[in-house]
Point group: none
Chain length 252, copies 2
DNA sequence: CTTGACCCTTACGCGACGTGAGGCCCTATC
DNA sequence: GATAGGGCCTCACGTCGCGTAAGGGTCAAG
């Protein structure tokens, strides 16, 4: 069942030359060669190619990809989860760009000029190299990462109870902090806010501080949420929101 | 109010070298030069730069960008709407990739191997040159495009209130469906569930059906949520959950 | 035994800059 | 007014991920 270059290229939607290139630089060397020197790709080569293309799609330089895939501690599932995460970050960026387009359109229609800063807001805070750093970070502390990743692995039905319990516990901690008279702007409260955010990120993926702040505000705006949270402790919703906002504002 | 290269670079989040390059190839030549030969950028240069960066972000080669911006029939608003459209296509692609990652993860966890075709499905149907073709097409039939684009154009800048209202409306629709005696497994109810999911994705990013189902279960598991939802209509929480689950199970 | 589709290697080209090198300009401080 | 440090200029070569021949073997079908 070995495939030739052009067959693989067709399958993967890439070019023969690209496959040659990957072979040249040692990124993807076919396991076999025919008598006449033809490259022969097996199933495992295809899997590797899929990974290569995924990372490529995410903007990694080929050399990086080789390093990642070559890592003896490489864990396919962890990698896939990482890819997922990064794709979501991309989605966020695209949304930001769409909003920027909309804002520009609006300002044109209203005839109000944008400030220079506004014009480039969206381009500025994007660091394309961030991905690579993140990857290295993640792959650096492989041990710790693996552990935490293992937990996320299966989202069994009953696990949702655990998730909920964890969320409740954090909220209880916030309630306690409030009861203890700790200001929402206090580092301890902010740490709890951050803990909450991390909790969201762990289970629900992606929640930058910006959005977390928004979440806090939404809790306030929606009477149903407020009531609910305040049932745990009156004023907790407002307290929580303050803590989220404070946490969003610090460290930047 | 003229700016120097490094100032512009900082503003736009690009590099001085890039600006030099754009000048070299005639893509963005600053209107002025100081006595000493320093490049001086004016407001209009910044606007053009913004456009350049937008198109670049969309993957256009610089030469193409020069052609587009140089077109005497160039209409900024039409261009922005086109950019919007293309960004949304990108978002779709990213979602497809996310789903591909999810499918791969699932097949690993279930131990079922994917076929070769499945593995590359998502890469195959992506044509990076499509954008350019599309651009030319669009610039050809400007009239028809304008009309349809008008609808897509504006999106309010603020507000959580609108978001909340939208969410409430969907929930109200679900309550109505329930009141009308429509089964939660009925296509109409599932459509509402899907609508809710899409709503979440639009504003809160990412919520695959798997997670949506989990959300429904979480609503049920948490007494506070259940009470809240049921306040709108008794039993709505359970109904909603059923619809989410049904929706998650179909179409796959 | 030829034809045409496929494969090989070698090598140069290109787009969008990064990265110096070498030198002028400009303000600030001694 | 001399010098230091930062910013600006113009070459010009390097890089990355291939595209694109060039020149030549391989293989199944007719």
């Amino acid at each position: 069942m070995a495939l030739t270059v052009s067959q693989v290229a067709k399958l993967a939607g890439t070019s023969v030359r690209a496959l040659h290139h990957y072979d040249e630089i040692g990124l993807l060397c076919p396991t076999g060669r025919s008598e006449a020197g033809y490259r022969l790709y097996e199933q495992e080569d295809l899997q590797r190619l899929q990974q290569v293309l995924f990372f490529k799609e995410l903007g990694f330089p080929l050399e990086e990809i080789a390093r990642i895939l070559g890592d003896p501690a490489f864990d396919l599932r962890a990698a896939l989860r990482m890819q997922r995460q990064m794709l979501e970050e991309r989605a966020v960026r695209i949304r930001a760009l769409i909003e920027a387009v909309d804002r520009t359109l609006q300002s044109i229609e209203k005839g109000t000029a944008m400030t220079k800063e506004e014009m480039f807001e969206v381009f500025g805070d994007f660091d394309p190299t961030k991905y690579q750093d993140e990857a290295e970070q993640r792959w650096g502390e492989t041990d710790a990462y693996r552990e935490s990743a293992k937990r996320t692995a299966r989202y069994g039905k009953q696990d949702w109870q655990k998730i909920k319990a964890e969320g409740d516990a954090i909220q209880q901690e916030l309630a306690d902090a409030m009861a203890a008279g700790i200001a929402p702007t206090d580092a301890r409260a902010m740490d709890l806010a951050e803990k909450h955010r991390k909790y969201l990120e762990r289970w629900f993926y992606k929640c930058p501080r910006e959005m977390h702040r928004g979440l806090g505000e939404m809790y306030m705006a929606d009477a149903r949420f407020t009531e609910n949270i305040d049932r745990l402790r009156p004023g907790l919703a407002a307290y929580q929101r303050e803590a989220f906002v404070a946490n969003a504002n610090r460290s930047e």
